[in-house]
Assembly symmetry: C2
Homo-oligomer: 304 residues x 2
């Protein structure tokens, strides 16, 4: 039951990126730029955007956040995205999700230039991932793969189970694990008898966004357990039910705590597991920074 230290690895990656950005600046006179479009005042989204801004600042990445009120119209939102598509100082653009419900997600995201699609959600970019031709990957799945690689866990031939089929995590991670020669099963809300499927898995990834979707009794001894969920809890009974001791202490001090999608006693049965918080979460931000640098480098003239 060794934890996969996402926080530590993210710091390591970011330190490396910081050096690389210094080099790039010395060589080109420019730095990578990240633009984030935030619509509305969802508190979780605001927190995520702040952590992205902060990470960018620490690395020397230029960042720009375009904040729009919930009353913003479709045309305005699209115009701002198009402006960022054209902006020379911006290497990558992302629209913070979820958008307010009045915006159908693809009606907005389709306006992102695929060459600046730092989240790697554009159909072309996801198609490249499916085809095993990609150089850019969605941040959370990329973070999971980077952790797996860092700890030299060879997934070849493993029975892997991905729970959750979002385009943000489940679907691309499925395809990335398959491209790495795991035998992957994709589970979702219509899956029957999830427990028995989990029981057979050598590698389990939960990306649902609900606490304790997977419980300790389901886990095979020695499985690798990857928890993508970071569920914010502020009700005492939920915290008692879902959180380990350290998060319960946090709740007593701060009034909130986090739980993953996998019930924490499952970690005891795992060979390796990602803690929540401190596992996949920090890796997602590190991969976003890495993608920003990649897009910047791709945009350089040959020889630069």
């Amino acid at each position: 039951m060794e934890p996969l230290d996402g926080k530590g690895l993210a710091q390591e990656i970011q330190a490396r990126l910081k050096d690389e950005i210094l080099d790039l600046k010395a060589r080109t006179g420019r730095v990578p730029g990240l633009a984030v479009v935030l619509v509305g005042a969802d508190p979780a989204s605001r927190t995520y955007v702040k952590s992205k801004e902060k990470a960018a600042a620490e690395l020397g990445i230029f960042s720009r956040v375009v904040r729009l009120g919930t009353d913003a119209g479709r045309e305005e939102l699209i115009a701002r995205i198009q402006e960022l598509n054209r902006a020379k100082e911006v290497s990558g653009v992302l629209v913070q999700l979820p958008l307010p419900k009045k915006f159908p997600v693809w009606d907005i995201l389709d306006h992102l230039d695929p060459a600046k699609d730092v989240d790697c959600f554009h159909p072309f970019n996801l198609g490249m991932v499916l085809l095993n031709r990609a150089h850019l990957f969605p941040c959370t799945p990329a973070g999971v793969m980077a952790l797996i690689d860092h700890y030299k866990l060879d997934v070849t031939g493993m029975n892997a189970l991905v729970v959750g089929r979002s385009f943000i995590v489940g679907k691309p991670l499925f395809t990335m694990l398959s491209n790495r020669d795991a035998t992957v099963t994709l589970c979702h809300s219509k899956t029957r008898d999830l427990g028995s499927l989990v029981k057979r898995a050598d590698l389990v990834v939960a990306a649902v966004g609900r606490p304790a979707v997977i419980t300790a009794d389901m886990i095979k001894d020695g499985a690798i357990v990857i928890d993508v969920g970071t569920n914010y809890l502020d009700k005492r009974d939920e915290v008692r039910q879902y959180c380990d001791e350290s998060q319960q202490e946090k709740f007593e001090k701060k009034g909130y705590a986090y739980a993953g999608d996998i019930h924490y006693p499952a970690y005891d049965k795992a060979s390796f597991y990602t803690p929540v918080p401190g596992g996949v979460g920090p890796m997602t931000v590190a991969m976003l920074m890495q993608n920003t640098v990649e897009l910047f480098k791709k945009g350089l003239a040959p020889g630069q």
Copy 2:
């Protein structure tokens, strides 16, 4: 053990398309057009291309086959594709695979206009399939889904197993079955203990291109068995080993026979199965015709 009659359904679909094309012609003065690029003289490819030409002719689809020798260069091949991209009378273009080995497949296919990509292999089009946003689907997976739908087999919650992860069949079919609420596992050459995975599957799809990859002992009683393989055999011992009686008779008369990827005694354990030949094969051609008509309709001016 009811056969899924792909040949019959393909004829039905093609009859419907024929009527639709007559209507379209009456309304627009034009007919859909299909262009096929064939490089080299691979006998199987030539047979496939002929059957595509024949189907198009029967439906009133204009077709054009560009035949290039194996000595054709990359630039020439790309120039011909670009010419077809521009040709007004051509609704859809496909490059018959496999290409001669000297051509890296994507180095050629990437020159197809995604709006004329009738095989639906372009990263953008496959990304749309992954995202469950597609109106166009690769022909063979589309044929499998059409058979499943025609026989009103509800795959929701089924444990489905797809063997083979090609971009032509396995990967898109995986994602289409998942989008239809099956719990899908994707197997391949690195999968361990395929037999025990097949044993648990309610729906098994084999798309490997090698006879008897799946044998009767692996199949769960009552499973749905979909065989995408059409393996050409012309050696007596192979025909004896892999072919049912009717194909053995064919071999005695013609000197060749076909076998699927699933050993035929497996059909006895299935609730439904696709015969080889006459199952998925004819559906692939019907779906190609359907895709050609779809692309033609998409290219019409609004109101036409």
